[in-house]
């Protein structure tokens, strides 16, 4: 039981968003979904590009690329679906992923000084250090961006 929990804590999904690679803790990820149809309708929150339908649920899709990579990408290979906390409630949210996804294990290290709040730490993957994202903080950064963070890539 403990071993399983420990493994889960140290497993990460490594994603390509734009030209950068980022990681999410595997236990935060609900699903990696094929690029199903994006449905759009008028609304006022620019961070949401539309919704997808997954397993009978309507899931908002966040334009993470414009925050992480500085611009949106029209082509993507997957949606990563994760749970987002909103006040006392929570709901699923999705981000488009533009490249391959990998499952990686390792110990997360503290983030570099001055990293955006949505970077929980860095994960060594080969010779690369991949920023580990906090999905919730990342989306909240859209609502009230930290000065100087919006649109800046966090990939090292």
């Amino acid at each position: 039981m403990m071993a399983t929990q420990s493994t889960a804590r140290n497993s990460f999904i490594v994603l390509q968003i734009g030209s950068g690679r980022f990681a999410l803790s595997a236990d935060a990820v609900v699903e990696l979904s094929a690029p199903v149809r994006l449905h759009t309708f008028p609304h006022t929150f620019p961070a949401v590009v539309g919704v997808i339908v997954r397993r009978g649920r309507i899931v908002p899709v966040y334009d993470a690329a414009s925050l992480l990579a500085g611009r949106s990408f029209s082509h993507h290979r997957f949606y990563v679906v994760a749970r987002r906390r909103i006040g006392q409630a929570s709901e699923l949210g999705a981000m488009p992923v533009s490249g391959e996804c990998e499952l990686a294990s390792g110990d997360m290290r503290p983030p570099a000084a001055g990293s955006p709040a949505y970077v929980r730490g860095v994960l060594p993957v080969g010779e690369e250090s991949v920023p580990v994202l906090d999905f919730n903080t990342l989306i909240n950064a859209y609502v009230s961006p930290e000065p100087g963070t919006a649109g800046e890539g966090a990939s090292s």
Binding site: P42, V48, V53, R84, G87, E91
Partner: protein, 158 residues
Amino acid sequence: MLLFAVAHQKFAIAADSVQEIRSTDSLAGSAVELSHPVLSKVRHTLEHSGHTYYVVNAGAHFDLPVSRPGLVLILRQSRVAVLIDYIERMTEIAAPYPLPLAFAGAERRWYRGLTYLDDMVIPVVHAGGFLTAQECEQLDRVTNSTAPQHDLQGVVSA
């Protein structure tokens, strides 16, 4: 539910919230242009069955590209009539899905929820969401203080 379209975007609205559907061509003489419009989405009033309705251009309300409205939905127990492009059809749907919490702005007032129909997610419009109480007060102040100008073509070009 009535499924309607504005600027190629589909919406649903509860059929029992609509009192009447009229062609914009049939409104000659009953539409009055506001001489000092305070809201870009409301440029006319409509006299109908002894009541005055504020005519809301749905395209402007939802910030959609300009389209050519062909119909007006006169809402029941409301002071609002809504300009739309066309009615697609009437259909029965299950209870709408709640609007995800990610949508935290004016859309929570616009929509009762979302429905999934024919492989499309369609917002279910809240009939009371076209004008806020504050917007109604703004319009009341203008319409009470200015003389009306009858406009035979205005609604169509709104």
